[in-house]
């Protein structure tokens, strides 16, 4: 074969590949366009159903909440999913109010029965909707199923189940949920905090405090922050105990950050000379909350610290100490020989004057 004919063959091969590629691309574009149109039509249809559902059920749900359930229509099977969504939306938007009439209506419509079915057979989205509904209905019959779901490998399911359990019976739910916190690395801090905050602090603080005191060091910071987020700090002295016992500077930092127990003052003072700056910084802030005139000298020394944050928090702490007027503070500032101490006090005093 000569070079010319070889070249023609190669050119034909290129053209063939290119033609198949163009055909392939065209078919893919066409398929995508059809899919986009299909999705738009489905979206419009769902939107229409949603608008219809809101128009029909929102006034009825409002009426039921006001105590009038005489004219409630029958729930058609094809409306069930949309109704459940609307019912849940209404429920969430009215959190804290008297929701019993809504729960009674759901029971009358046998929503619990539908939710149980959805929980067992449905797709992920419907299963989640079922869990949320059972929680909002405070459906005790779902207790065992929900406890089982706490171990689900999908964190969205396990967390939604935890939330539902708290809604059904927070006192007993925390006994199951709190030990799971250490096992579930996939549970996000903010989600768990939000769930625990729905429970009565009296039910959770003791369990959380016990867990925090006995947890491995790497888990303690998160648990201490749960104690703060769930308003347990006044109900337990575990922070003081952990602060006295810990050798970990991260744990000490968090304890100092959240501590509000005046009995821990001497313990706090020990940390003002810690080698890590963040520990000194939190100790200074804690002195501002718990300290007295006795701590003024220590705090003034800290305003000359090598770290800006330690200086800043110490200066802020000084302004919070009892029995110091603005004039006293200005005088203190002017007496400082250290430039950094004077600068940071000037800065914080200006901030204080602005507030």
């Amino acid at each position: 074969m000569d070079i010319d004919s070889a070249s023609v063959i190669v050119t034909e091969q290129i053209t063939d590949i290119a033609i198949y590629s163009v055909i392939g691309l065209s078919l893919m574009v066409l398929a995508l366009i059809i899919q986009v149109v299909f999705l738009r039509l489905r979206y419009l249809s769902l939107d229409k159903q949603h608008v219809h559902s809101v128009k029909k059920w929102r006034p009825i749900l409002t009426q039921v909440l006001l105590g009038d359930s005489t004219d409630t229509p029958i729930l058609l099977r094809r409306e069930t999913c949309m109704f459940i969504e609307e019912w849940n939306r209404m429920f969430v938007s009215l959190r804290g109010d008297n929701l019993t009439p809504l729960q009674k209506l759901a029971t009358r419509f046998r929503i619990n029965y539908f939710a149980h079915n959805m929980l067992k057979k449905g797709r992920l989205r419907n299963r989640l909707l079922a869990i949320v509904t059972l929680g909002n209905m405070q459906e005790y019959s779902a207790w065992d199923d929900l406890i089982e779901l706490l171990n689900d490998p999908n964190s969205v399911i396990s967390l939604t189940a935890a939330r539902a359990l708290i809604q059904i019976d927070s006192e007993h739910a925390v006994e199951h949920i709190i030990p799971m916190i250490l096992k579930h690395d996939d549970w996000t801090w903010s989600n768990v905090a939000n769930i625990l905050r729905q429970a009565n602090p009296l039910h959770i603080c003791e369990h959380l405090a016990k867990l925090a005191a006995s947890a491995p060091v790497d888990k303690q910071p998160g648990l201490l922050r749960y104690l703060e987020a769930t308003h347990c700090l006044q109900l337990t002295n575990v922070i003081h105990e952990i602060l006295s016992a810990t050798k970990d500077d991260r744990v000490a930092s968090i304890c100092l950050h959240i501590i509000s127990d005046p009995a821990a003052l001497n313990e706090v003072r020990k940390y003002t000379s810690h080698q890590r700056w963040h520990v000194r910084m939190h100790a200074a802030s804690a002195l501002g909350r718990l300290g007295s005139q006795e701590d003024l000298l220590t705090l003034l020394e800290l305003t000359a610290d090598e770290n800006w944050w330690v200086r800043y928090r110490s200066a802020q702490a000084i302004t919070k100490l009892p029995k110091l007027s603005l004039a006293d503070l200005k005088e203190l500032r002017d007496k400082q020989k250290d430039k950094y101490a004077r600068d940071i006090l000037t800065h914080v005093l200006a901030e204080t004057e602005q507030l």
Binding site: L25, V36, L39, L124, V132, T188, N194, W308, D343
Partner: protein, 476 residues
């Protein structure tokens, strides 16, 4: 090698390149589809379950660098002051503006000098003065010597009080809940060091008091094409890489960062044009080197809106700047490429950016030229010429339509069917001229990078039509 062989080899090369590029983009698209389905599922659940409560959200410092922004700055700050977030501060940095930006801010917000005990953790140009107002304690204003956008952000980082900082372009338009959305990855995963949100084009939308309240499409075709580009870039360009922790860009228009981590890698690089991308690539490189567990995440919600250029000249400047930024960011962090411990980032995302985004314009522009010359000199016949051009154009259309599919799977920003139809048209028309023009501009950007032209603030002539009437009121 004779000319005939040259044209033959070139044809094979371009076909192979386009097919490889198409395959990579489609895989990326597949990853983005999985992510968006999951994300939308969780979003719909949060609507019936209630969102996270305010007091678990960490405080944020918003850093707004401003250089010659007298037209938009007052409305932008006013809008930022109204964001729905429990605790945040706004730090506006005037980077030696030569217009009236400084005086407008001082006068409108009645700011007074503040004796800040400033500490310079990141080296920057000198700071002249800090300003605050008792009544608006959220707002802090810093006047400094000109040093560029990166330098201004570094000053903001030095002055910030909170553990997370968010960079916002002075002309960005945010949603009321933008901060709540962008902070979510930090709440979900404590190892998150940065998160970026979707930026969309505001041209054609209705904006009131600094907030976008109704999406729409612009009449200007350049802006319309850019809408398709933005959807493509954000919904599958970034969403596709995010699950693999291989996101290489967080837009400077709106990105949230963990301050201590950014300070530990040296802050923003002041000698780079694409400082936003360079920081993210450097974060990846240095955090992997330190073996630190981290995540850089993307939030697909459309939470930031920005004005797209409506003139060819301004667009050209922007694209040249972006390409230079990309080249600088990648070349400064080449250690990531095929690094044994770099995972999907070093073996997929980085090579992808290198071969298809960084060097892509070279292949595309020369591809068009060689095929056209080959056809003009009879080395390539008409049939082959048309088919090769068909591949190039068809591939572009495929990518744009895929992006529209993702949009339909998720947020339905443009609700009217006529808008969807116009977007369809744009996905086709942009492939006949606009895309090629972009490739040429990007090639110019590459050449400028090779030559080493000096970096400067990106100047953009803004029309800011939605701001004009309010600005004039602010002047009264």
């Amino acid at each position: 090698m004779n000319l005939e062989t040259f044209f033959l080899v070139s044809q094979w090369f371009f076909i192979s390149y386009f097919i490889l590029q198409a395959s990579c983009y489609l895989m990326l698209n597949f990853s983005a589809m999985i992510s968006i389905s999951r994300y939308m599922g969780e979003l719909s659940l949060s609507k019936i379950q209630g969102a996270a409560t305010a007091d678990v959200m960490p405080p944020i410092s918003l850093i707004v660098p401003a250089y010659n922004e007298e037209l938009t700055i007052i409305n932008s700050i006013q809008a930022l002051l109204q964001l729905d977030y429990p605790e945040y501060e706004i730090i506006v940095i005037n980077d030696g503006s030569t217009d009236n930006t400084f005086q407008k801010i001082i006068d409108y917000f009645e700011l007074k000098p503040f004796p800040e005990a400033y500490r310079q953790r990141l080296k920057t140009q000198p700071v002249k003065q800090f300003y605050t107002n008792k009544q608006r304690h959220k707002l802090r204003f810093i006047d400094k010597e000109n040093g560029g956008k990166a330098d201004a952000i570094n000053v903001g980082i030095n002055a910030s009080r909170y553990p997370l900082f968010c960079t916002v372009d002075a002309d960005s338009i945010l949603q009321h809940n933008s901060l709540q959305r962008i902070v979510q990855p930090f709440l979900d995963d404590p190892s998150t060091v940065a998160s970026g949100g979707t930026v969309r084009v505001v041209n054609g939308c209705s904006v009131k008091k600094g907030f976008m309240y109704k999406a729409g499409l612009p009449k200007n075709y350049l802006a319309l094409f850019q809408i398709v580009e933005y959807i493509r870039a954000f919904l599958f360009g970034r969403l596709g890489w995010s699950p693999m922790n291989a996101l290489l860009i967080i837009s400077g228009a709106f990105g949230l960062f963990h301050k201590e981590t950014v300070v530990s890698v040296g802050g923003y690089s002041a000698d780079t044009i694409g400082e936003d991308m360079e920081l993210v690539v450097r974060l990846h490189r240095l955090l992997r080197k330190r073996k630190q567990k981290y995540r850089i995440t993307f939030v697909p919600d459309p939470i930031c809106w920005t004005e797209a250029p409506e003139s060819l000249r301004v667009l050209q400047h922007q694209r040249i700047r972006w390409q230079r930024g990309l080249a600088e960011s990648l070349s400064k962090n080449m250690g990531l490429l095929f690094h044994p411990k770099s995972g999907a980032l070093g073996f997929l995302a980085f090579p992808f950016m290198m071969f298809f985004e960084w060097l892509g314009p070279v292949v595309e522009v020369f591809g068009y030229i060689i095929i056209t010359v080959g056809f003009a000199t009879d080395f390539i016949n008409l049939h082959t010429f048309l088919v090769l051009m068909g591949i190039a154009v068809g591939f572009g259309i495929l990518l744009s339509v895929t992006a529209l599919l993702l949009e339909e799977m998720s947020f339905h920003i443009y609700e009217r069917p006529v808008e969807l139809f116009r977007l369809f048209l744009a996905t086709i028309v942009e492939n006949f001229g606009y895309r090629q023009l972009n490739s040429v501009w990007r090639l110019i950007g590459l050449v400028q990078w090779v030559v080493g032209k000096k970096a400067a603030w990106g100047e953009m002539t803004r029309s800011s039509n939605w701001q004009k009437d309010q600005s004039s009121r602010a002047n009264d």
